[in-house]
């Protein structure tokens, strides 16, 4: 049984990995990363954007990043949503089912800090209350490019910029 407890401060047992360890993890996952996504109470906006990562415009596979069905094969946990009460237990089980080392990314305003829901009687309000978060990708919802940037940042590959032109096009809205 998992008890439900709103934490005012991050759990002290949740520790941040050291810089050296982080380097090592980044080296490990540098060229092949498998993501398990968990929706912990999003509005489906984030899912819509994440799904588009594999579409022809973004094609995240070319970066060596894949989505996997089971957490047993996953290196990174991508969490969206305001962490609803009913999803706390499944989310923790998913994290526990992942092999180490593992990364956690909070995606979207809700997972980062609760968005408009915040801490309420039905939502925990932020992922960091129950899991050690490596990267926050803000946005409501974060666009596919923001997601790619966030993931590359997590892997220490942020300098591997996307094609300048795509970014430029996106900025001024030309398709």
């Amino acid at each position: 049984m998992v008890t439900f407890e709103l934490l005012d401060e991050p759990d002290s047992s949740i520790t941040e990995p050291s810089t050296a360890l982080r380097r090592q993890i980044q080296h490990l996952f540098g060229r092949s990363l498998h993501i398990r996504h968990v929706d912990a109470g999003s509005c489906n906006g984030c899912e819509s954007e994440i799904k588009l990562l594999t579409s022809p415009y973004y094609d995240i596979h070319r970066l060596g990043i894949f989505f996997t069905t089971t957490p047993r094969h996953a290196d990174l946990l991508l969490v969206t949503g305001a962490i609803t009460r009913a999803m706390v237990d499944p989310l923790q089980r998913t994290y526990a089912a992942m092999p180490e080392p593992r990364l956690v990314v909070a995606t979207g305003a809700c997972a980062c800090d609760g968005g408009i829901f915040g801490r309420s009687c039905l939502t925990l309000g932020r992922l960091s209350a129950i899991l050690p978060v490596d990267t926050y990708i803000p946005g409501c919802p974060p666009t596919p490019l923001a997601l790619i940037h966030g993931l590359l940042l997590t892997l220490g590959r942020a300098e591997q910029r996307l094609h300048r032109q795509i970014l430029a096009h996106h900025a001024d809205g030309k398709a």
């Binding site: 049984m1 008890t3 439900f4 407890e5 709103l6 398990r36 996504h37 968990v38 929706d39 912990a40 109470g41 999003s42 509005c43 489906n44 906006g45 984030c46 899912e47 819509s48 954007e49 994440i50 799904k51 588009l52 579409s55 022809p56 415009y57 989505f67 069905t69 957490p71 949503g81 305001a82 609803t84 009460r85 009913a86 999803m87 499944p90 989310l91 089980r93 998913t94 968005g115 408009i116 829901f117 915040g118 801490r119 309420s120 009687c121 039905l122 939502t123 409501c140 919802p141 666009t143 996106h170 809205g173 398709a175």
Partner: protein
């Protein structure tokens, strides 16, 4: 209307919005009489707490002439009861459970368990809409008490799917029961994502409400904020300017387009048609980028405000839409033809996940799911809102009720959306796009209804205001909620385990919208 003979009080609240006050004793006969007429449709049922007094409210959609009918049943006592309506109106099944756990009004003789939407560790007797606490209050957890499912017969495998399941999908749990190949039974456990949107809206000001409505279902953000803004405008007794009404229609149809493209992409993914998935994803992405260009947000967040829109459309932007539409129409026509030539795709859809028309009607299927099973209803036509009354479009209808019918229906709806957008671009009236905020002022204590035909079906929003003009009770019934209730009827019998992803995608429902 003879059915109103029992009524103690009949009121016209707003144009096309009637209210009848009943006692619990004559509720059943009234509902029975309403359901006897096939032109009336049960739409919503919820509980309200107002100043210590609780009400059971039912909403019926009447014909185009009469609009909407609220049945209001004031109840008293610590654990108020009424006779369950499931016998006379099966579609009330989930609604009654919701009222029971969120407002404490108990349906006697309800055939199923009452626990529905609140998490398993939620304490008994704490009613989110029964008054007594605010959304920020901490409700302590108790030992989880999940709904006990009936066990399966010998030899049947309970195949659990979710809440964390394959792919990038929303969270929900299916218990599929199979004898090896064919699905013989399915139990549905939704509401993992219940965020308490309605509770969250309590006490919010007019400006904040659209933000909340947009997040009911991010991919129907514009539809929901539209319904909410229309409700506010009805409550304030104003109407959005003509240009705003046309632009709202335009954006609503753009939203429908990208959703229907996304739907076909997901369906292609379910049948393994990767090329189709990629192509429809391209169409969807282009529309999202168009949205970003027009509204500053890919999902049209922040566009609707009470009294109109937050920004206007320039002539250049109109040109851009026109160009994009031409591309979309051309590509879509080719893709549709290719889709119907892909036997591997069509064969998986044909006679898969059939929702029998009589069940669809009885269980209250709405939107594309209902229309694919012969439920001829579309709020854009039957209860026009925004600018739909002034535009010409057809409502497609299919009667097979299988996955292919649902997919075909959405393809046809895409064509109708193209038509609508063309008309709007050709006849866009010139006026302001927003009434001044000070003109959009609701009277204290007023309540009003807003509705919308979202890409996934009818969304109905009911809003009641408190003394400080803040939202006192916000009720949302999404199309997905209504359709999820019919979903289990389409799964067992004649489908095999590997059909399930196809059935799920062919319904194209949103968990977020249903869970709220």
């Amino acid at each position: 209307m003879s059915i109103l003979d029992w009524a103690r009080q009949v009121r016209l609240l707003h144009p096309n919005e009637w209210e009848v006050v009943l006692t619990p004793a004559n509720l059943t006969t009234t509902v029975e009489a309403l359901c006897a007429n096939p032109r009336n449709h049960f739409t919503d049922m919820f509980g309200v707490e107002m100043g210590g007094e609780r009400q059971l409210r039912l909403l019926f959609a009447l014909d185009s002439e009469h609009g909407w009918l609220h049945l209001v049943v004031p109840v008293t006592g610590d654990s108020p009861h009424y006779t369950s309506l499931v016998e006379v109106c099966p579609a009330t099944l989930w609604y009654e459970r919701e009222v029971a756990e969120e407002c404490g009004i108990i349906p006697s003789g309800h055939p199923g368990p009452l626990h529905l939407r609140l998490p398993d560790d939620w304490p008994e007797g704490v009613y989110p809409h029964g008054g007594g606490f605010s959304w920020q209050d901490k409700i302590p957890a108790v030992a989880p008490h999940p709904v006990e499912l009936a066990s399966a017969p010998d030899g049947i495998v309970d195949y659990p799917l979710g809440p964390v399941r394959s792919g990038v999908v929303e969270s929900g749990h299916y218990l599929l029961r199979t004898a090896g190949e064919e699905l013989v039974d399915m139990r549905l456990q939704l509401f993992y994502k219940h965020r308490g949107i309605e509770k969250r809206a309590e006490g919010c000001s007019l400006l904040h409400l659209p933000l909340i409505a947009e997040r009911i279902s991010g991919t129907s953000a514009f539809a929901h904020s539209l319904a909410l803004c229309e409700a506010v405008e009805r409550a304030a007794g104003i109407e959005a300017p003509p240009r705003a009404r046309y632009l709202r229609t335009l954006f609503a149809e753009l939203e429908r387009l990208y959703n229907h493209h996304g739907y076909q992409a997901d369906l292609c993914q379910a049948t393994g048609l990767v090329v189709g998935q990629a192509q429809f994803d391209v169409l969807k992405e282009r529309l999202l980028r168009l949205n970003a260009r027009l509204a500053g947000h890919r999902y049209l967040f922040g566009l609707n405000v009470p009294g109109g829109l937050s920004r206007d459309l320039t002539d250049t932007e109109r040109q851009v839409i026109d160009e994009e539409l031409r591309f979309q129409r051309r590509t879509f026509t080719v893709l549709e033809e290719l889709l119907f030539r892909s036997n591997s795709h069509i064969d998986r859809l044909e006679r898969t996940g059939t929702l029998p028309p009589e069940l669809a009607l009885a269980w209250g299927a709405v939107g594309p799911v209902g229309r694919a099973a012969g439920v001829d209803r579309d709020l854009r036509r039957d209860h026009p809102y925004a600018a739909y009354a002034e535009l010409d479009f057809a409502v497609p209808l299919e009667t097979d009720g299988d996955a292919l019918a649902r997919a075909r229906l959405r393809l046809e709806e895409v064509r109708q959306s193209f038509r609508l957008i063309d008309q709007i671009l050709g006849s866009l009236p010139s006026s302001a796009v927003r009434v001044p905020p000070e003109a959009c002022m609701v009277r204290p204590g007023v309540s009003a209804l807003g509705w919308v035909e979202s890409p996934r079906g009818e969304g109905v929003h009911w809003l009641s205001f408190g003394e400080q003009r803040q939202a006192r009770r916000y009720r949302v019934r999404t199309g997905s909620f209504a359709n999820w209730q019919t979903f289990p009827a389409a799964v067992p019998g004649h489908n095999i385990l590997t059909d399930f992803p196809v059935i799920e995608q062919s319904f194209g429902l949103s968990f977020a919208g249903a869970d709220r």
